[in-house]
Symmetry: C2
Subunit: 309 residues, 2 copies
């Protein structure tokens, strides 16, 4: 039996990177020869967490079928968000908190999904079910992911279970979750040194919707004006990404984590449909969406209804 590789989605965020680390550790305690890997390098927020808890970033893999025949997916299941070659290997385990789509297996597998705010919240429950103690550094990474995915418990995706898991994990990690959490989120908003092409790809996912191919990217900021000053170049990069990759429409969501207001740039064929999806309209070519902070719960569902409904 070949090594079990454990990885999160492309353009990894803090949950994708750290849930691979925390699940691989758990699987090793259960006797699996598991290694955490990643489909990209950590963003600045994730790097802050890795540095703080003195953990290495997982190594980045290419075509997974060149390395192994058996994998565990965390924080995703859709094939277009996963590793190159994933359709040629056996998916033996999935732990996730997203919808299930574009996913199938030939054989029975272990699949654990729950509608909570963060994959690491589910993983923390699994550690408890299996009676495995969470090491201090891994607890730190797990609470970092919950803070990241729930924007410090402010996202509508946040559940009571996420808050309870974060509280327990912060105790194990010996941190004040509010102080540490805000510092970590701020580290992730440090975007000044990124090119436009990097900015629109930092946390971007593809979603096939009713025949159209949407690309939806999101960045968190404390000062949206800083990014909007580069709007023309950003839109140029989005246009280039559309034509290079066959996206019909690129939606770039700039979320102010202090005010919970998102400003949205849209480039491509379905600009009007995107505005309609949010019952909104363009002012100066921008959509302003107060209270919208969650791609999964507040951006993808209304777009899905508009494109597939």
């Amino acid at each position: 039996m070949s090594k079990l590789l454990v990885f999160g989605h492309q353009n990894p965020d803090t949950d994708a990177i750290t849930s691979a680390i925390s699940y691989a550790f758990l699987l090793r305690q259960l006797g699996e020869d598991a290694e955490a890997v990643a489909l990209g390098t950590p963003n600045e927020e994730t790097q802050y967490a890795l540095n703080y808890f003195k953990k290495e970033a997982p190594r980045v893999i290419g075509d997974v079928s060149q390395e192994t025949n058996s994998v565990a997916l965390v924080d995703h299941n859709e094939v277009q968000q996963s590793a190159t070659g994933v359709e040629k290997v056996e998916v033996e385990f999935v732990v996730d908190h997203h919808r299930i789509a574009n996913f199938q297996t030939a054989n029975p597998l272990f699949y654990r999904a729950e509608p909570v705010g963060c994959t690491n919240t589910i993983l923390y429950k699994m550690y408890k079910e299996y009676g495995v103690e969470v090491p201090k550094d891994i607890a730190g990474l797990m609470v970092s992911a919950i803070v990241s995915d729930t924007l410090l418990f402010k996202s509508p995706t946040c559940t009571q279970q996420d808050i309870e898991a974060a509280t327990d994990l912060a105790n194990i990690a010996e941190i004040d979750v509010n102080v540490y959490g805000l510092e970590m989120l701020k580290a992730g908003t440090n975007l000044g040194d990124k090119s436009e092409a990097e900015l629109i790809d930092l946390d971007a996912k593809s979603f096939p919707m009713g025949g159209a191919n949407l690309r939806i990217a999101q960045v968190n900021v404390v000062d949206p004006e800083e990014l909007l000053a580069r709007r023309e170049a950003l839109e140029e990069s989005m246009r280039a990404a559309n034509s290079e990759n066959g996206y019909d429409t690129f939606v770039f969501v700039i979320t102010n984590i202090l005010t919970s207001v998102s400003t949205v740039l849209v480039v491509g064929d379905y600009k009007d449909k995107v505005a309609q999806a949010f019952n909104s309209s363009y002012t100066d070519g921008l959509l302003t969406l107060p209270g919208v902070v969650s791609r999964k719960k507040q951006v993808v569902p209304p777009l899905t209804v508009a494109f597939e409904g």
Copy 2:
């Protein structure tokens, strides 16, 4: 919010009927307004278990979207094995032990699959995780399902977890699992009063495979000759089912539960391909497969490889 309907697959077997009952009970303890229903009436084996533990069969539903907007699937996930109208409702929960295919959702959900022999083995773990006591009659139904799916622990699908769960549940139900189990399995082999059309539909599932549409049915017997005496009429019914429903090939597996030998009738376009899948050949028009007792683990996978490989 509308009532949560909980149901197993079409042509329900003992696990499909009883896991709906045991999961609906658990969900009610967790505060859901859940009702167990079914996509067909119990077979004789299941009816034996229901009579023994004095439980009513779940009511049979038609188009599920006429009744509710939210459902829990047990012991299946593929849409072609599920209720009419299932694609119009929200699948909020799945507990299953099969491959995942032909399944997708628009929203995050609770999905729990494990590669064990029986859905009720997973449900028993969930009762323990949530700290919910299993009532005596429900424990009896749950152990009945494990006996049924694992052919009293003889199937290659049976895991150590199934044996442990069955042992605990038999204690709660106050039965000797080997004595009760064999009586229940024998009750299910009482096929003399069934028409050929009923026999080939008792435990039948459809599997799209590489462009072909296979129908695979299985019956358990203690005397295969009794059925093979009706072979001509059985094959006539299989041919009729193929042309009425657009199946390309009908595979009817007759499993001797005492000797663990399966005898297979095949009708349709891909007779040779089916024989090749099992590295076997027809003797007198029949395939004889020693040691083959599990459709999921020993019939579907080699056919999938032969048709899709």
